[in-house]
Every structure is written in C-alpha cells, then in structure tokens.
C-alpha cells in the first residue's frame, strides 16, 4: 500500500527532524535542558500563534449568504442567492438552492455563509454539533471533506446508481449518455432518500434486438429491422416480441448488418424461428440443397414440396440456365495490391474445394466425419512411459510456442487482479460504502454540477482503529467503484492519512 499526504499541522505540532527547520522557534532539541534564549523565542512564538487562534474568523457581512438548516430534510436551504461556491457545491430542489450539511459547514467555517436555525445564527460549535448527526456524514467524514476542499478538490457524495456497470462501460455508454438524458441525473448528489432516482437503464432495451428473419429467401439484409441508433430513449418496436430471436449484444460503432446478413445467405427458404433451441421439424437427410454455383451443372430447380412452404407463399419450378449465362460477365480486375495478396496466399493457401475428398462429401455430416478422420490420423504418438502413467507431463510439445507461454503454463502462482471474481460476489448489505467522489482541482473551470463526469478518485472514509478490510470486502468495494481508483482515508481522531491499493506485477524472466 502506498501512503499519501497527511494532514497539514500547525507549526506548533510539526513532526520530526525533516521539518524541524520550519519550526518558528528554530531547531528543535532532542533533550530537555536547551538554552534559555531558545526557550524564550519559542514562548513568544507560541503567544503569537495563540493570539491568531483566538481571533474571530473574518467575515464580510455584506457578502454573506444566508442559509437555513432544515433538520427534517437534513439539508440547508439558501435564503439569499448563492455566491461563487455555487459552481461546484450545492443543488437545486423544488426551485430552491440548497446545500448538503458538509458543504454548508465548510462554507460557514470559511466565512462565506451564515447559518440560521429557528431564526438564530449558529456558531461554528453549534453548527458542528447540529449538522453532523447523520450516519452518512459524521465528524470523520466532514474532516476528510474539509481537508480535500482545502486542497482544492471538488468533492461530491457518492451515489452507487451512477456508476456504469461493466457492460455499459463495454458499450461505451457513459460518453453517449452524457449528451442525452442529462435531466435524469439532476438529483444524483442529494442524500435525501426520496430524491434518489434510479438511472434510466437504457441498455436493457439494447439487448432485445429483434432478430426477425427475413421471410423471403431471395432478398436479405434490408429486412432486418434493427435500429442503428439503439440509444434513443423511446421503447423500441418489437413486432415479433422479445421471444423472437436471440438477445444479441450490439456494438454501437460497427455496422450491424454483417453478422446477421451472413447467416441469411445460402438458404432459399428459412424457418420462422432462428434459434436452435427447437428440434428441427424437417429431416435434413432427405432434403438436399441444390448447389447453384457457377461450376455446377445444376440449373434446373424443381417445384418445392408444398409442405415445406409457409401458407401464403407459392413455389414454382425454375430453370436458371438463362440466368447463369448472364452473370459473371465482367472480367474481374484486381488491383495491384490484391493481385500481390493473391499471389502470396496461393503459395500456402488452397481452396477447400480443391480437395477431392472434400468434394466427395455431399452434406455437412460427411464433411465433419472427414475432418474427424483426418484429425485422428494427425494425433501425435505420445511416449507411453510419460503419458500412460498416473502423473503426466503438464504440457504437450505443440501447446507451447514461446518461453513466456511455457512459463505461464508451469507457473504455480498466477497473477491476479483485485477485480478477479469480483462480479460474482453477492451484494452484501454490510459491505463497505464509498463516501465521496473527488474531482480534480484543475478541472474547476470545466466542471458542471449536472454532469460531473468521471471522478479522479473515490474515497472511503474509515477509522484508523478498524481492522484492515478482508480481501473479499476490498474486491466488493473496488467493483462498486467501477474503473475509478479507490482511496481509503483513515481518520485518527482528527488526523487523516490516505492509502490506496497499487497494482503490481511480478516481473517474469523469459530470457533464459
């Protein structure tokens, strides 16, 4: 684990030797019995510090924003218009500007707002004792919040429903959702339960792609009613119902037609149901598909059996001879690049149809039998003394192509990532909670409260006295955080240290 910076201390509490020169009293002593002069200087310094401490916090009454604490809702409502802090803090509810308790307390300490409760202005002590009563926002949480705000970060409360799931990340959904559906995210930061809105689960629509097959065998491609822009928020039309076809995940950015249209070639007539889950109604050993390729003599197609056809589709006999003469008229002209590629390939590639044995196969079953037979012949003869024992070698020679692959196979320790298996862990109500999203300080100018984007890190606030969390708990909370790194803020009665897990790979020596 690597440690982050600890809280800045006043000069009266400087930690050790490294920072001694910063002590206003000069060098610190190691043993008592130092010089009187030094002690005097130190004493005067302390006086000065105490004087500063006793000063009232500066306030500008004219610029003070007035706010009222609403205990039943657990938020602070602004009574006069917000100042510059509104850019990164606060939220709107029912037309009013509001602040979360930690934000209000921080602004009170900075001297930017004046906090009222029952028409009485709260002192900082009273505010600490009144506002920090929630489970979600205790004194420790507030101290972490305040520390990060002083450093300049933008700190918002964490809301689990706004983390995109791995599937959504895979689809790159978040960047798309930013531009649409923003109004769904308005209430995201509020802690009040009734303001919590579930994120619109757009991807559920996506998985119900209609895979309606084309009814007519001769034309294909256009009849696939798939929406090219699946992120439109309106429910998609599913005329065939969701039972139709398979659920196919659809990559947004590639054209969809290729994967489906290839399956619609070949067959002249296709079944209604495209899933393989039903037992086929036809016996394929008796139905042959005529091969109409250019080098085949078959041009005459008899009228199909009417039992094979849907109700209102008539079949007829076709003589394709005249058509065959009209296709493939134009000489194929290859570009130079294509010719070169063909030349290269011809050296080692050969068409599967050039194989006589393959041509002798009249259906898939025979072809597969041929492949199996060939595979059997190719099986490498294994030495009996190695392979016929109870304990066999780990590897066969053909399995390994490089020293790195070999090492990978024989290694006892496999590298693992914190997220391995994390998705399979059950939801645990006792699991650690993430408390804050922290955004970079330098992004303040571009920051938008309604669409903050991906945080820099997420923060878990824990007490220094607690046990180190188990691996299971760490996996769960890292998974909960999505792809944003997680930092643990350990609070030890007023002093904070930050830790995070760092990924580390043992180096592998493959050069031997």
């Amino acid at each position: 684990m690597e440690g982050g910076g600890s809280r800045r201390l006043s000069t009266a509490e400087q930690p050790e030797a490294r920072q001694a020169p910063r002590s206003p009293g000069g060098q610190k002593d190691s043993l008592p019995g130092g010089s009187a002069r030094q002690a005097e200087r130190l004493r005067r310094c302390c006086e000065e510090q105490w004087r500063l401490l006793c000063e009232e916090r500066p306030e500008r009454p004219g610029n003070l924003v007035k706010a009222e604490w609403k205990p039943e809702q657990g938020i602070v409502e602004l009574k006069s218009p917000a100042g510059k802090f509104w850019h990164t803090m606060g939220f709107s509810e029912r037309g009013k500007q509001c602040l979360l308790p930690e934000e209000a307390l921080y602004l009170l300490e900075c001297g930017s707002v004046q906090l009222f409760y029952r028409d009485v202005a709260l002192s900082i002590q009273e505010a600490y004792e009144t506002l920090l009563c929630q489970e979600a926002m205790s004194l420790s949480h507030y101290q972490v919040f305040s520390h990060l705000k002083q450093l300049g970060y933008i700190v918002l409360r964490f809301d689990p429903s706004t983390v995109p799931s791995p599937y959504e990340r895979q689809l790159n959904l978040e960047s798309h959702c930013k531009s649409s559906g923003k109004h769904h995210r308005k209430r995201r930061r509020s802690s009040s339960p009734w303001l919590h809105e579930k994120k619109h689960k757009v991807y559920e629509d996506l998985s119900e792609v209609e895979g309606t097959s084309s009814k007519d065998g001769d034309d294909y491609g256009d009849s696939i009613p798939m929406d090219e822009k699946p992120l439109s928020v309106q429910p998609k039309e599913s005329d065939a119902g969701s039972a139709e076809g398979e659920s196919m995940p659809v990559p947004l950015d590639t054209g969809q037609k290729d994967s489906l249209s290839s399956s619609s070639k070949q067959a002249e007539k296709r079944e209604e149901s495209s899933t393989g889950t039903h037992a086929p109604r036809w016996d394929f050993t008796t139905i042959t598909f005529p091969n109409m390729a250019s080098d085949q003599p078959c041009t005459h197609l008899p009228s199909p059996d009417s039992r094979l056809l849907p109700e209102n589709v008539p079949g007829r006999e076709v003589d394709a001879a005249s058509w065959c003469t009209q296709i493939n008229q134009k000489q194929e002209k290859l570009s130079r690049k294509e010719r070169k590629q063909r030349e290269r390939e011809s050296r080692y590639k050969s068409s599967v149809n050039a194989d006589q044995e393959v041509r002798r196969c009249s259906n898939w079953q025979e072809y597969k039998a041929l492949l199996e037979q060939r595979r059997q012949q190719r099986v490498w003869k294994r030495p009996a003394h190695l392979w016929d024992q109870a304990v066999t070698p780990l590897l066969r020679p053909e399995e390994v192509t490089s020293p790195a692959a070999l090492l990978q196979q024989i290694s006892v320790l496999q590298p693992s990532h914190i997220l391995d298996g994390a998705s399979r862990l059950q939801e645990d109500p006792e699991a650690m909670k993430i408390d804050f999203n922290v955004y970079q300080a330098d992004a303040v100018s571009k920051f938008k409260k309604t669409n903050p984007g991906k945080p820099h890190v997420r923060m878990c606030v824990r007490s220094f006295d607690e046990q180190i969390p188990s691996l299971r708990a760490l996996k769960q909370v890292t998974y909960l955080s999505g792809d944003v790194p997680l930092v643990f803020a350990l609070v030890d009665h007023g002093e904070i240290t930050f830790y995070s897990l760092k990924e580390f790979k043992l180096p592998v020596d493959v050069n031997h």
Binding site: S6, R7, R8, L9, S10, T11, A12, E13, Q14, P15, E16, A17, A20, S23, G25, K28, D29, S30, L31, P32, G34, Q38, A39, L42, C45, C46, Q49, W50, L52, L53, C54, R57, P58, Y106, E109, C110, G111, I124, Q125, Y128, E129, L132, S138, L139, Q143, S146, K149, Q150, F464, D465, L490, D492, H493, G494, E495, T497
Partner: protein
C-alpha cells in the same frame, strides 16, 4: 537489539522539569470544557485549548478549517479550533480532574471505558481491549510528565516527547501490545528498524490494572551490524 529503559529521557529517574499529574483539580467552573459527541471529543474555547496544552500537557489536534487566504495572498494560516482530543486524553483529563467532559446529547450514556468499573472486573482472565490498554498506558506515561501525541505515523500508539512537541523531537514510539499473547518477531523487528531509521526508541508498554506500569525499550544495534 538491546532492551532496557536507558536512554529514554523522562522515563527513568525522577521526572524533571514537568508538572506532575495530579495538578490539584481546579474548581469545576474554571476547568476546561470538553464536548463529547458520538465518541469524539472537541474543545471549542481558545482559553481551554491553551490551558490543556500548556498546563496539562495534552496536545490533541487542531482540526478546524483554516480561513481562506486574503485577497493579497499571504501565508496560509494554520488549522484552527476546535481542538480534538483522543479518547485516552479525554479520559485521563476527566479522571485527574483536569477538565470536564460534557455530552452534547443528553441521551448519550456515560462512557464506560471499563475504567470506572475496575473493581468489579477483578477477573484477570478478561483481556483488556486495545482502547483500554492504550488508555492505561497513556495515563501512566502522561503521569510521569511526558508529552504524548498520536503515533500512527510510525506504526505505534503514541509518540513520546520529553517536552513540548514544538520544542523537542520525539524520543520514542510507544506501542501497547497485548501482554497475554506472543508477539510475532517479524513485526517487532520491523517496528524496531523503523524507529532506528527515525532515531527514536521503540517502547513496549503495559499498564495492567494490578501491577506497576512497565516499559521496555528496544533499540537496533547499528554499531554491531
């Protein structure tokens, strides 16, 4: 490594130049007031904070948000009130009469801490909790006139100073291990080595309810390596 209590000023021999604990308890009205809310102890009055630090040698941590820098910049001010005390500091103050601890919400029960019921817990078999051990050790070391602050930076329970932390370097890192259980040697070595790097002694302290407090200092002998 050598063990012994030598070389740790303030711990052996008479406590020199520091107030003994038991500063006679001041009348209740004048005592610094400590506010307790949900296990956290805060001191809000500057006078009280100063008294706690200068007279009672209890340092705590200043946790208030510093004010923003002025428009002309200027040095960043240090942190401000409130002063937050650790549980063992608050308890030691309460027991010695140095301060009064007030609960913020009346409904909060008095902290049991186990200390008040010491007589009832005559059973030695009950192992002390970590907080309880630290509390007793704090009381013992503080009672000898030493200044103690948080030791989390160096993997211990306390940092031990012979005088005010502003004026002196810490001389030792104090840990309060369970005396009933064997300590893993590796952890001990790691702690001793760390302390040697930062030029402090490692103190293993125990203050059992029945018996005198004891400290063992461990140093890594770099001169023999």
């Amino acid at each position: 490594m050598a063990a012994g209590a030598e070389g740790v000023p303030g711990l052996c021999g008479a406590a020199e130049g520091s107030e003994t604990p038991g500063t006679p308890p001041s009348p209740a009205a004048e005592r610094p007031r400590v506010r307790r809310q949900r296990g956290r102890f805060l001191v809000w009055s500057p006078g009280a904070a100063r008294a706690l630090r200068e007279r009672h040698r209890v340092w705590g941590a200043l946790v208030g948000t510093p004010p923003r820098r002025g428009p002309r910049g200027g040095a960043a001010a240090g942190p401000r009130l409130p002063l937050q005390l650790r549980p063992e500091e608050a308890r030691a103050l309460r027991e010695s009469g140095g301060a009064t601890v007030e609960p913020v919400d009346e409904a909060e029960a008095e902290p049991s801490g186990g200390g008040a019921g010491g007589g009832a817990r005559a059973a030695l078999a009950t192992p002390l909790s970590r907080a309880e051990r630290r509390s007793r050790v704090f009381r013992a070391l503080w009672g000898r006139g030493l200044h103690l602050t948080r030791g989390g930076k160096f993997g211990g329970d306390f940092l031990v100073y012979p005088g005010p932390p502003a004026q002196f370097h810490a001389c030792a890192v104090a840990q309060c291990p369970r005396s009933s259980r064997a300590q893993p040697l590796g952890a001990l070595l790691a702690a001793a080595r760390l302390c040697a790097c930062v030029r402090k002694a490692l103190l293993l302290c125990a203050a059992p309810p029945e018996g005198a407090p004891s400290c063992t200092a461990i140093t890594w002998r770099a001169d023999l390596t």
